[in-house]
Symmetry: D3
Subunit: 336 residues, 6 copies
């Protein structure tokens, strides 16, 4: 497919022109406080995974509204007992859930604690899920999918719940006795990348311990541009919804502005490794660069940041190559 | 598109081989009883429609679980006061809602009361809707759309609620003082046709007054065959869901069997006018004929029935031609 | 679908760079004079429509070359006898005809006289038609469809006949005894919008009584740009024809320039309400704005004008929402 | 593309179940008589073709209704003067015309007279044309294309004119002084193949000299089956027309039955070489075999016949391979 | 997508009607003997994989013609030293290679030796590869891809080399000092499944130690049927090649018959677990069942066999679910 | 399809910004010298073509590495004996070969010697071929097709061999006793156009006799831009390869830079007639104009040049119209 977004040179200097709501931080302060009013209640039940080199645990913790959110925790079976492990908290792409217990143990194979968060109300796509979204607005007349669920109000919007879950997942990982709460790496692809940025941005000033942020081809960045130019994937759910709800454009954009990854990226404080793909028509590269170029700019100290650009790839991005890039990045970071 | 289903001669004699659950009637007896435990509470508020020849009313009544369900009622402005009108109760196709008040006044133009029921949780497609589906299972990990919502149990399955709403809509129409409760015609296209059959089948033995049943290219008939052969539209939501939930086929089919239009069609007692389309890959003609050929066979007296077959049409079916066919059918019926 | 035409801000100021032929008015003066040499011969035969609130009439009048052109006239059954009604003259989208008599009575339901003109040689698409195009050039080696029929000469070009028919339709409506000839509103979607502009532009200085012009997503505007950028619909018939007739580009554009809606829009004198759709790849929004921005600029007094822009819609445009917009626009206009 | 029609073994024995109209021969007797009432008026004007080995002529002759029909005649420049050449009369595929003079000289290169007939009202597709279809019905509300032009009556149907032109083309070729009227080979691909069969079938008993018939993947055979199963190409024009004109199926099929190649093939008397393609979804192989298996069965003596089957080809059929097959077939036939 | 192949009940009893060449075994005896004339020369070089729980080795061994073939060997880092491990030999799907060293360590995670063979001349698709196909026929005028490379002769056909490589891969695995040569499980998906069957069938009577055979949605089974019905994937390379090489069908099928998995499956002697997918249009389920139903029928003792059928899946088949099924199958088998 | 590349006015002035390798000429000097070390060994065997006006010869000559390359030579049968003919050397489009002997005799019909070169390793597409590519790198892990074969090094890259073959084809044509070596016209479409430019560019300063260069919609021009914007055809083979080989972009572009037609076009010294097509998404018009605008700029004297632009055509370009344009161009040139 021919290039449809900005060429590489323009991407590098592209600045999103989004303006954040005046009460953005107040909204999230209140939201996080409301969530923390529920006990975290993180539990880790050992589970048979048929693997001899990985120990796995079925995780449950209280997310938004105290709703139970599922996850997996994988630890290398040959870990040194008594030592606390750094942890990689991983979020999942749109439509997927935490999957079967054996499906992804990558970071545990590399010697880390590997924590995978299930995404509420998803898990019908490539990866199975086990966490419902028991919120009253779930049965509204939204376009099929999650993108317009509760879009009528910032309180009800689906990603308010998913962002809080992502934040609480870090707290849940930190609660495990074999995990070092001061060495949390957050990571994810596509929606997983968007949740990575969201969790890290919400953690800034509210939760310590995040030392690296690794969003790949992240979703949920720069909504106004994304819904105008993305040709496939979940962004068009919003465009299609507004195609019918012809008069709701301004109101919907106002709600989405509280959830835009660009604003959250600005607040992040830990070093970051992004990736973007030149032919990506699901999460267009300009929207990823809009986030990357803003990343950390509102932090007390601008953190280090780097990005891999995959010129001919669509939304699959760097795949195994990016994972190796991340393995090295984290190893170097921890080696100091 | 070349013919992909049975040729006309075979359609005429095609018999579905579905076996109904032993407790089918018991399930629906209990379901209707539970619904009737809520007061119907039908209200009709006059609404400005900018039309000089039609009077319109914004309808609300208690559907499944007592949930408020919306609708429109249109009456010809030049009706004779003091005379009760026959009513056409109309159900809407998948994804649509009751629409804007002016959008469809056809039967009222022809001199009937015209009652349009909104479909809960829909209204995101071609026609806007105003009725949410406030059921706890709405936020589960179903495939996007309504077809697999709550498919884990016959109690939670979405169409249990939609079928009850459709049944209650007849009662709501009958509650209006200008409507003759003994002359109810039910009608609808696609999902609207499926709800037509459902409401009529549930009415058999439980509610008097239905005198004609007019399903066009009806959906929700013969699920096992439909999900195997339908290439587009909502049936594939189920196939796609089962593509991921590989081990849930038997359980899902067992639930669906309580909602199959073929079983409900068998129980209908009023005369029927169906339509089917030879190239329909959304509601394949064999599944329509499977329903039509079973129609009324379990009634005390086999009612009259007729079907129009549109050889080269896809799911659009007969459109304006079928409506004229129906206008004549109803006029003849009422003329006796 | 991602935005493929100009973004909203640029649309608002977009000016077509078309130059009109020097003898544009002379050509149309001669053409209208030639048409008026035939008696209008408008007849209105009552027709059974199975509707109790609308009276319908089968219309015939002499169009281009005196050829009989068909139409429908709908009047509200409860109209005050003796009062003359304002009339909405409606033109039909490409490939369609006047349809069945019951198919569209919208404006009559709202209390107006509603006059629908059949389009010659069309009626094979979504709406049936009854008016042939009995012109000698119809059997030439044009690309299938109407767009290149007679494109060899401005005298033979299909739209010369269709534009004249549209002009004469206004005269035919004005000839009805229950219609007020001084209150004619013209309206149509797509090709219907193009004929709306054509009829109004030709009426300027030649026919009184047009008081409002309401083209939706109009076709036939700015041919050179349209055939370069439209990806679907009838404009590509011309591009495909010229793909084979590689040396006929200049000659074809010269003929089309006599039929360009942009030139006709400039001449219009009545207030206008347009609509355009941001994703419209059949009638691209820049070609609609090119017409809108020129509208009325050559009138003695610049008439009022307004436009609705539907950001995420393709050629379906505003649909029921635009109709309500029009109902209000006309009501306000008549209320003065 | 997977096999969508009958497998090879069944093709070989497939019999069309078409029944011909009782007055089939009477209809065509009258039609041919009517055509012959016009003088043939064949003219051959030398034309510059920029080729040194081929002499070309611009042909005009009187077809149906005496309308001028164009063609090319190519003769090998190095032919022996005074000897009469066998001639290959070639008809063109749907949408094409005779093309530019240099485009196809194949049979003349091989030493034959090569006569190419233009097809009236076509020439907008792959090959340019120069012959209009000046018939009153051409401007009717047919579906775009030629397939439904005049389908309301057997007198007006487009192929009545095209078949007569094809018959008259043989007479025109025979009229040239350097052509041997007793050695006429007729040939064509797709629609050209259908016209080949039509011209030969009409020639049977009415015109001498046809000694070989070579239809490749012929079109216009077994209409009822073709319009049911063809997925692309011109047959679907009829299906699409009937999709709108829902009540005209029987009437249209009755008209088409006078033009079905299967009936004309039965009457042919000269040896034939067909071809069919296993994946052909424009002219499905079963419809070709339906014609081939009927070929010559109504002749006084069953003529020889052969067919090439191209298993994995779509409508392109055998292309250059089939031409070589024909070169050999004709050479052998003439060698006796 | 609607069902396009046989329904489940017919699949279970479907028998391929292929007849094998008389000298099938002689051909392969000679081929294997020729290959074994080269020293196996298997080497295992430790390689850094950045994983702490898996030890990985870069494998090279002599395949067909003594050409170096690459692979990976993964061993669990926490294995008991001195004990020999059962090994899973895995072959890769069409277009892929062995991938990066960290990409798939699944069976090693489960405690087995995990041996992955690179496929010569592939590795341009989803998984990178490192093994060229240095055979003289590689530069012939084949259709792009491997399927028609050398199809002119059974000696040169590409899969002669790939099958021999697959056989030699078992011998290479058995040569490792930490692997138990008497407990070899062979496995693969799609082409990997075809190579699984090929290696096992060639091993029968020629090589001991294969104790389980696990082909998923195997490719290379029943060529004549596959190239007739497969709509996507590599089988159509052959159909497309024969579409141009119209006269080579019989010759090509004769060559392919020496490589048909159905003949090789018949000869297998170890227990088998297959999978097939009901909507698979790359490796249609009937061709998989044709192989499965023949499996082991020519063995001295019919081995046990089982198959999983995924009704709504296309070529992705059972994915993670089938892997778990295999984990259990192998565990049970080894537990005896 | 809407315009996707630059509009006409910008094309006319478009300059490619490619920089050629410093040792470009040295590389090709060495390559040509190496090729000429093999005897040309051109042979011309008479072949039966079943045509009476054309004499055809089966050609073989030594191409790159001395490998035998095939071709056809056609001469007009009625040529004046003893006179030497100008020759048109023609190269073939991607995937095709020289075809069957009768397939294209166009230039011989016009009185020229017509020499068609087979393309090594191709001939699997529209035209059959007979020349393998017996190079060791042919079996590497390239993406299917020829575009990435040997792309690892400039010595092994496929087009090094194909360009040398094209150069040697001129020498082979010149070796025929009935051909005038001082009047060679080179011509070809798409890849044939690219080889036309390559052969002419290599001939500059190395081989006399080329008097006209006629590339149509040429391929192989401006690789960096082409692989970024071409949506179909062979350029995307490179993009797809680099999509997997994510780190090889710079290295691949460095190799391709030795084969870029833009550099070779600069060196050409004979008059040129190009063509380009406005909708061409296989060989985008800007890449053709990039070559055309550079053409001859490095020659001692800037040769004449002209280009035809086909506004609405995709890669089919001008077809028969361009051939006539060429016939006239050559005739005028030779007439002097």
């Amino acid at each position: 497919m021919p290039l449809f977004d900005l060429p590489p040179a323009q991407l590098r200097s592209y600045e999103s022109d989004l303006t954040e709501p005046a009460d953005f931080d107040a909204f999230w302060d209140a939201t996080i406080a409301e969530a923390r009013a529920f006990p975290l209640a993180a539990t880790f039940m050992p589970v048979e995974n048929m693997l001899t080199v990985i120990d796995s645990f079925d995780v449950t913790f209280a997310g938004f509204g105290g709703d139970p959110v599922k996850g997996w925790l994988h630890l290398p079976a040959n870990r040194a007992r008594g030592e606390k492990l750094p942890v990689v908290v991983q979020y999942i792409g749109y439509s997927g859930g935490r999957g079967l217990v054996q499906q992804d143990t990558g970071w545990a194979q590399a010697g880390y604690a590997h924590f995978i968060m299930d995404t509420r109300g998803q898990g019908y796509g490539g990866l199975l899920g086990d966490t419902p979204d028991p919120h009253a607005s779930a049965g509204g007349t939204a376009h099929p999918g999650l993108m317009t669920r509760g879009i009528d109000s910032r309180e009800d919007y689906y990603y308010r719940r998913a962002y809080v879950d992502s934040f609480r997942a870090i707290e849940a990982a930190q609660a495990h006795p074999e995990i070092d709460p001061g060495r949390v790496i957050v990571s994810g692809i596509s929606q997983g990348g968007g949740l990575t940025i969201a969790a890290s941005g919400l953690a800034a000033g509210r939760l310590d311990g995040v030392i690296a942020v690794m969003p790949d081809v992240p979703f949920l960045q720069d909504f106004p541009r994304s819904i105008d130019i993305a040709g496939r994937g979940p962004y068009p759910e919003i465009a299609t919804y507004l195609k019918r709800r012809r008069h709701d454009y301004d109101a919907a954009l106002e709600v989405l502005n509280y959830f835009d990854g660009v604003h959250l990226a600005r607040r992040c404080t830990a070093p970051a490794l992004y990736s973007a793909a030149g032919q990506d028509d699901i999460c267009p590269p300009s929207t990823v660069y809009g986030s990357f170029n803003a990343y950390g700019s509102a932090a007390p100290v601008q953190p280090g940041k780097d990005i891999e650009y995959y010129r001919f790839n669509n939304h699959e991005g760097g795949q195994e190559h990016q994972w190796i890039r991340q393995l090295r990045y984290v190893a170097d970071l921890l080696a100091g």
